[in-house]
Amino acid sequence: MFTRRDFLKWTGRSAAALGLSELGLSRLNQALAAESSPPLIWLHGSSCSGCSIAALNAVTPTTFGDLVVNHVSTKYDSLVMAAGAELAIRTMDDAARANQGRFILVVEGGVPTAAGGRYCVIGERGGVPITLLDAVNDLGPRAARVIALGTCASYKGVAGAGANPTGVRPLGDVLAGRLARPVINVPGCPAPPEQLFQVVIGVLAGGAYKLDADGRPATCFPHTVHFTCPRKHLPKATAFGEPGCLLDLGCRGKVTTAMCPRHKWNNGRNWCAAAGHPCIGCAMPDFPVSPLTPTGSYT
């Protein structure tokens, strides 16, 4: 397992990549050395849990296990926590109260706002249902920083596609005007775990994130998929299975900013275009565009 020492070594090496000043780095070391790790509350909304599964797959800069065990104190995450029922909700309430202004809030999935948020109920308090909207409104302004995890939380994504009957809105819109510092979007379907962990680590270090126009950390999304795609100089493919550039098969790599060609997926094992399939633009505010699947030669 990744030790605390390895972790510090890594943060030292990648301080520049994270955009941390020396001051920030010493604060990070302090944060990790502190007896009680910084608290984390992870809410699941209108989601498929794919971003959680992706986070569980990460090894760079560290593993999920290492992050939640050694570096943050995971007070609430309904997918992994031991407690349930009232005890779980009480744990969340106590953690927010005891760590006012100090905890990191991660919201995975869309926030439905229609019908007062009743399309997503995350639990009950004293017999009264708690909607995700209630929880976000309550916890967002009390958090040190709020992270929108995945395209659904960042932009509404699949959860808010089509007629959007449940009124899913981007987390940043729901909380607009009520946060000292804006929501950090980490889009992707699922969100790339490398980027989530970088952001969490940066937040722990007190790094001031420069966000781009889409609310993402600018350094995480510097250019398009096409820009670094190894297929782009090849002749255009006319059907799947050919080795060429997939642009004519509906590839969205030219209009999608993401790090996929560099980070790849599943710890570098593969990624979409390498596996012969065009980019579907899953990290973009307009995902899922229609048609999503490439048209190719047979429309």
Binding site: M1, G45, S46, S47, C48, S49, G50, C51, S52, A54, L56, N57, T63, F64, V68, V69, S73, K75, S78, L79, V80, A82, A83, G84, A85, E86, L87, A88, I89, R118, Y119, C120, V121, I122, E124, G127, V158, A159, G162, P165, P190, A239, F240, G241, W265, R269, N270, C272, A275, G276, H277, C282, S290, P291, L292, T293, T295, S297, Y298, T299
Partner: protein, 472 residues
Amino acid sequence: MSKRITVAPVTRVEGHLSLQVDVSDTGRVIAAWASGTMFRGFESIMLGRDPRDAIHLTQRICGVCPIPHARTAVEAVERAFGVEVSGNAVLLRNLVQGAGLVSDHLLHFYHLALLDYVHGPSMPPFTPAFAVDQRFSQADADVFADHYVVALEMRKMAQEMGALFAGKLPHVMTYAPGGVTQQPTAENVAEFGRYLDELIPFVEDVYIPDVMRVAQVYPEYFEIGGGPPSLLSFGAFPDGAGGQLFEAGKYTGRGRSPVADRGAERHVFPLTGADVAAIGESVKHSYYGGGQGRAGRAGAAPSLDKPGAYSWVKAPRLDGQVYQVGPLARMVISGNYRGGLSVMDRLLAKAYETEKVAVAMREWLGGLALDGSGYRPVTAMPTSGSGYALSEAPRGALAHWVEYAGGKVTGYRIITPTSWNASPRDDREAPGPIEQALVGVQIADRSQPVELYRVIHSFDPCMGCAVHVTVV
């Protein structure tokens, strides 16, 4: 006087589930109601789109088990198009789906279910925890904690293995009408095999013994949480020669369990087209307008304040009967498991099934031809058509139906495993399998109902899947 207990949320499940139970003075469950508490409305997403979009979109119903959705969607579309894929494509799809199953079953036992029996380390997210009926010593708990961490690594490796042919996981990129866009090479086949070299021994030497250890220490759970004695499997993992690793069938027990019916293979029947046509969904107690209908044909519009409704999950029934689905159903119907129906039987069948699939993956891997035949270009899409496909997700029977006209989807219908298992009461007021399995469970401490957790987790509910979808 009975007393009502509310469990909201049920944690360590995918998605949003809550539970109400009425218990007697002596703490015995008299009745249970399971509620899916999140609705997304996938139907409005699919309608009017290119039918091929379903391959990507329906996966987003569930990031824990996206692969069976992708496979069932692509095969439904292929049936509508009249496209047949090569044997190589079938094997590649099996390998990705098998990798997902191994990853998912490890996640379920070690990271979702195990904490119902064993205390985790003394720190969040393992604390606070229900502090009743913990029977393992601290030394045992430490070993399980080690395995918890190793299993995180193993399930991650299984996802990496799947990504070799999936492009990425979660959310498969490579399933397209005509086959799989990622072709096998000497390199990726060898790498896949190296993952199996590590995963199979872990399943055989750690996972299965760990489940058996839990079963030995909690033996009464072989008598608890049986649920209805009717099992259903749609069959999965075709071998390309007409057979399947798991047969499609239904088991209708006369006794309480397969044990009571031992030697009575007559209780297993093949699944027929008529059976599939006899699947309907009740929405009497679901938050949808309208009444009963053919699977998904009625009751599409959400109706939040509907009297008597308590769940976003619909109630699928075959010929009006309640069925439970999942690894135990598959293993019993395929003749690979001869235990009973209970919490522990579900955990054990799942572990044995993991081994069965992992071992079969070796064979599929060895059968791959490195000739680029995994994908055959599809040159034409009929302007209208319909199709369906059946498969088995890690949690049980999965079916997709697609209809489209003018190149646009006019109807899309999905019935997922957890819709069966976590279904609410139906038109005849018959409770769903989880609701039935909870009746009779004895609770020691009403504020810490760990006994309910054990029963619910044995079904491994996936609520994102259960509340999906779909209908016109």
